[in-house]
């Protein structure tokens, strides 16, 4: 295990150097908020944020991804043959991912990489990725990570964890992947005992700052049917405008749709993020829609995260407590209240 200390200037320089071995994704300030972007073309990493507006899930699972291509030109030998589009699975690193978002990658693996199915692109990209976490010194009021298996200094799913000590970052490797990355980082000193103590103190202080908690203890009881027909869904769903904000900002929402797009005789098969809030999500070819009402769609999202997932995988809830949906739901539907309602029903 390596424990190193970098002044902030050293760290920024070191990340530049890292680009010879990795495609580096860093938080970049874009207008009012941060998002993960490749560290190139002069993108300036900025570690002055609570969390990025979108989770870094798109680095592994892009919002739109060309899967296959084909030609409809019958004079071509391979007309109508679907061919895999070239993809880049070279080594990459997400530097500055918050612990909640790292836990989310671990959590969604069950969907993309399980004994029955392996999504080749998700798996290869994940394998090629090193996650350098960024501990939260000042969690948001809407964060409830400690209730759902994570925490502001949680190391779950991470290859290394960096901690902001004001004038410097202390970075600790957690896996061989993380250690390999740290070894490639030029500069930096071994972190002194005093610095590591400071990290410990910060971790304790930060955990105490988490002001939101959600109850989960009663979710697993076999009350699926009762919860499904609970009267509170009408109230919970009234304000919902069925946009994709919650699902697109959510680090654990993994649903996608596959579309063919043809231009002239060239076709692409594209995978796009989808959202269970959209009526189109469940529209059948027959025209029938089993979830054509808002209430059904809102209920589905919460039931999936807080009941079906819990029952099916016995691994807690499909929520990492990042609080993005709490902060950015345009109509203020608050998942913390839904936890209370479902757990208490």
């Amino acid at each position: 295990m390596l424990e190193k200390s970098y002044s902030k200037e050293e760290w920024t320089e070191a990340l530049k150097g890292l680009q010879s071995a990795y495609k580096v994704f860093v938080p970049v300030k874009e207008g009012d908020f941060h998002n993960f972007r490749p560290l190139k073309n002069g993108a300036k990493p900025s570690f002055d944020f609570q969390n990025t507006r979108l989770s870094p899930k798109a680095v592994i699972f892009p919002q739109s991804e060309r899967m296959f291509e084909y030609t409809l030109d019958e004079s071509e030998k391979d007309a109508h043959i679907v061919k895999e589009t070239d993809k880049d699975f070279s080594a990459q690193a997400i530097v500055g991912i918050r612990p909640c978002d790292a836990l989310a990658f671990q959590l969604v693996r069950i969907n993309f990489d399980n004994p029955q199915y392996q999504d080749p692109w998700w798996v290869q990209r994940m394998d090629a990725t090193t996650l350098i976490g960024f501990a939260c010194n000042d969690p948001c009021a809407s964060c409830f990570c400690t209730s759902v298996g994570s925490g502001p200094f949680s190391e779950k799913g991470l290859d290394a964890l960096m901690v902001d000590l004001g004038d410097r970052f202390v970075v600790k490797s957690l896996t061989t992947k993380g250690e390999a990355l740290l070894k490639k980082l030029p500069s930096g000193k071994d972190a002194s005992g005093a610095l590591l103590e400071q990290v410990q103190d910060l971790a304790k202080a930060s955990e105490k700052k988490i002001s939101s908690t959600v109850p989960t203890d009663h979710l697993k009881d076999n009350r699926g049917n009762e919860l499904f027909s609970a009267p509170f869904w009408e109230r919970v769903s009234f304000a919902c405008i069925n946009c994709g904000t919650c699902t697109y900002l959510c680090p654990t929402c993994w649903c996608f749709d596959i579309q063919d797009e043809v231009c002239g005789k060239d076709g692409d098969r594209i995978r796009n993020w989808d959202a269970c809030m959209f009526p189109l999500f469940t529209l059948h070819g027959s025209g029938h829609n089993p979830r054509d009402k808002k209430l059904q769609r809102v209920r589905q999202r919460f039931m999936h995260k807080l009941k079906y997932y819990v029952d099916k995988y016995e691994d807690g809830v499909a929520c990492v407590g990042c609080g993005r949906c709490v902060q950015f739901c345009p109509v203020n539907i608050d998942i913390r209240e839904v936890f209370e309602l479902m757990n208490g029903y």
Binding site: F49, R53, G244, Y248, F278, P330, N332
Partner: protein
């Protein structure tokens, strides 16, 4: 505008008690600072959760579409104009509604407030008259509301409801001498290339979540053109061409109907000023037809009516 709250509750109580309405639609105080949640109340016991302040920036008309019951609701200037538009477009009947008029002094731009306090997290906001105070861990700052109005509210010409059954307070003076289209004039001066660049940049962070469309009371089509699959008018990826197509087509569908209520901008999770699309069409409707949407229920909108005195020759 928090001083309206007791009156809103009093009216809602009266309406539900007397059975004048079946339900009452308003806001309840949000769980996050500067956010409030639209709420539908059926029971008298819930009346006291009704709330109103300068952060009620959605459009409650959005919740009326094709309802069949009798509804009481709060409406400020722009929301009331959308209700009128809904009535004209047969999405609701006037006699189903009991409109509780809010003389509006404008909604606060929560993003501008956050920008000003920087990285400090706002945990609470308190409103007093025309100023408001935000506070969080170890800080507290008081601002004048007029300095933080949403850009649509800053140039609003109809702050008082145009249609109502009862007002919660006396009308507020309307703003004078404001030019609602100053920003559009700037864009109009650009060359075609510059305009394309401007709009491309404007929507570069769009994630196609459709919050803007779904928050808009005008967007009530049973199936939106972006959701059609036969034919598929627009791609569903985040290809900039498709994203641009969505925004432009949506704006055109709002021509002569948009009241510049700002709900689309308010809800955008990535803060795109989407009104830059609709405002040009509002300006055209005003300049070509002298039309401002939703001011009158007895006149058809210019784009769905034949008039013998139309200035276009082709129509004669």
């Amino acid at each position: 505008m928090v001083e309206y709250i007791p009156k809103i509750r009093e009216i809602a109580r009266k309406l539900l008690e007397k059975g004048t309405v079946d339900v009452f639609i308003g806001y309840k105080k949000g769980t996050v600072a500067m956010m409030n949640e639209p709420v539908l109340i059926k029971d008298l016991s819930e009346v006291d959760i009704l709330y109103w302040d300068s952060h009620c920036g959605l459009n409650l008309c959005n919740y009326l579409t094709r309802r069949t019951d009798r509804i009481g609701l709060v409406a400020n200037g722009c929301n009331s104009r959308n209700i009128v538009t809904h009535i004209i477009e047969n999405q609701i009947k006037r006699e189903q509604l009991y409109i509780v008029g809010i003389p509006c002094t404008g909604i606060i731009d929560h993003r501008a407030v956050k920008r000003t306090v920087g990285n400090r997290e706002i945990l609470e906001v308190k409103e007093e008259g025309e100023s408001f105070t935000v506070s969080g861990n170890g800080f507290q700052e008081t601002f004048q509301k007029k300095d933080f109005l949403r850009t649509n509210c800053a140039v609003c010409l109809h702050r008082n409801p145009v249609e109502y059954d009862e007002m919660v307070a006396d009308p507020v003076p309307e703003q004078e001498g404001v030019n609602p289209f100053k920003d559009v004039e700037g864009i109009e001066k650009k060359s075609a290339d510059e305009k394309r660049q401007f709009f491309t940049q404007l929507i570069s962070s769009c994630i196609r979540c459709y919050a803007c469309r779904n928050a808009c009371p005008l967007c009530y089509c049973p199936t939106c053109f972006v959701d059609e699959s036969r034919p598929q008018w627009v791609g569903k990826s985040i290809d900039p061409v498709d994203t641009m197509t969505f925004h432009f087509l949506r704006a055109y569908h709002c021509a002569g109907r948009c009241t510049d209520c700002g709900a689309c901008e308010r809800v955008c999770p990535v803060g795109i000023p989407v009104r830059q699309f609709t405002k040009k069409l509002n300006k055209d409707a005003f300049e070509l037809f002298g039309w401002e949407a939703g001011l009158r229920a007895d006149q058809r909108p210019p784009l769905d009516v034949y008039r013998a005195d139309d200035y276009n020759a082709f129509i004669k």
